[in-house]
Assembly symmetry: C2
Homo-oligomer: 344 residues x 2
Amino acid sequence: MQRVTIKDVARLAGVSVTTVSRALNNAPEIHGETRERVLRVCREQGYRANLLARSLSSSRSSLLGLIVPDLANPFHAALALNLELCAQAAGYQVMLCSSRPEEGQLETLFDLFFSQRADGVLLSSSGDGAYDLARRWQGDMPCVLLGACAPEDSPHRGNTVSVDNYAGGRMAAEYLHRLGHRDVAYLGLREGSATHALRYRGFLSAAGDLGMKVTAIPSPYSVSTIEGGRHLARGFLSAPFSQTAVFAVSDSVALGLIQVADELGVPVPQRLSVLGFDNIEYAALPNIRLTTLSQNTPRLAQSALRLLLELIEDGDGGGYVRRLITPSVIERATCRRLPGPANT
Amino acid sequence: MQRVTIKDVARLAGVSVTTVSRALNNAPEIHGETRERVLRVCREQGYRANLLARSLSSSRSSLLGLIVPDLANPFHAALALNLELCAQAAGYQVMLCSSRPEEGQLETLFDLFFSQRADGVLLSSSGDGAYDLARRWQGDMPCVLLGACAPEDSPHRGNTVSVDNYAGGRMAAEYLHRLGHRDVAYLGLREGSATHALRYRGFLSAAGDLGMKVTAIPSPYSVSTIEGGRHLARGFLSAPFSQTAVFAVSDSVALGLIQVADELGVPVPQRLSVLGFDNIEYAALPNIRLTTLSQNTPRLAQSALRLLLELIEDGDGGGYVRRLITPSVIERATCRRLPGPANT
DNA sequence: CGGCGGTTTGCAAACGTTACCAAAGCGGTC
DNA sequence: GACCGCTTTGGTAACGTTTGCAAACCGCCG
């Protein structure tokens, strides 16, 4: 398994290693003929540059680290895919790892990426812990947080690209109000996550403005799995309730809710309208058709990547950047217009 | 962004770089005290070894390449997750990339992994193209194919771990026969994939032995998305049909079929039993409860990883290894026992 | 005190690139 | 024919590790 190196090529082409290197990186200061000859030898010998050596020498790896909390979650899978596409287009390769629930795994991954001299790291997570981590490593590698929001009372403002959760919350309330709903529930309130806090505050604020009644239902369960949503829904639906609509913090929760509603004989949307958040692929399926707020994954990915590349190439500009992507309501079949006075 | 290197540590600890290296790789030939001192300095200075340099020098990277065709596919996502877990337990890190539909992407990824001097590559794919590729690279990096089967007429036998598709096909036929079905369809026959060919042949063989009538429905669509399954199902269900059961090549196809059946008013399983293959997470959901054959992802992952590590550590033993994992029938709600003579 | 194993250390050469700087080649001008 | 500027090439020192080999140290025996 002896591999052909740049030296072999140089010898066979009758030039110096420097010249080979130049031919490979198509530097301007090389004679056309020489380049051709060198490249031909490369092809003949099946030469592949050793990225390890290249990175070590040039101190840039063209590698980006990407950490997602859970590969099985379709929203994150879609995000990863989009990021991979954008990165590749920009000449970077993505190392994808999932942080999974294990404590300390996030730290391990940062460590790994750093040791590998990744040019930058994208961290997708909704937890606040990610924030501290990103700050700690910020000085060593450019980091962009995806989808996370700074806790408002944090002194730290990290480079962040996320959906505008506050606006999303408001939009949800406004949408339900427009359909005539006046008594609604917010399903899956989470402690310790600024992302969710913002979403909730936006919802509450708009609902208040519009004179709607809001019941918040906190979740002790995971809010990113259908199973968690089912648990939550069982609690909510098994007692009598007055609400005509539910805003769920995620599509997963919404899907769980719909399933339980189905089992308990609560017709959706006739008795209860359901509005989700994320617009995961499964939400569009013909026998689900969940009305939801779309995060617009491609835009999110593109924006995050662009920011990261700026940081890498232009250096840390000192301040921090935060980009918000406005979500949009995707109307499908799980929200119903209530009869009554015309609502614009 | 000046990083602390092994030299800095050596200087600060008053020893040579060799000694630091030994302390870090806890070599046996080092004095306990010295090691402590060195490690303390490392901690104080926040030293992180440069994996690039380490790999370059030691010519092993502890990196494994993993290629999956599609991250959005839950089966592959689950597989990736399991592999990541196993690999990490064995001290390897996984670089996950999706080959996506693009032509040439597979080649690009192999190239990338090679350039990065990955210690080995895991390739998950059901297409035959993967086979040639694995063969071409086999000499340069240990490769294990996951889930793919050699085309039977290929002279090449690559290192492979896959579900026993032939046995799976047989089990499917036997299971349906046991429930009393005698007139069945095989939905989603694929050209150019040995995996699917084997599955089909197994099904056909057992069905033949048991005297069942089989109608094969070839698929011009993708067989790994629900959407593809829907297209296929529409073709099948819109004309009158005599079959009482369908064996779908994948859960995705089965899910698509069930949806269309629902839309067209064909009750499942009363009028039509549906049997899937893969046991993806969504198949278990309470309002789906798809009866299916399980690929047993964790076993698959573990087995593949063990094989790859053997190849890496003990070298290519000359011959090729093929491991088959027997699938198992997961009984849920979409297959019905037909009334009639008792069938064992 | 010389010598002898065994443990612990250090020197220096890899590993395969890139990058800086000097030098060679080559027309053309004065 | 010396000199100049431009293009093209090569030599060599990095980059941050590991590794083989030689040297230093240490306690002990004869």
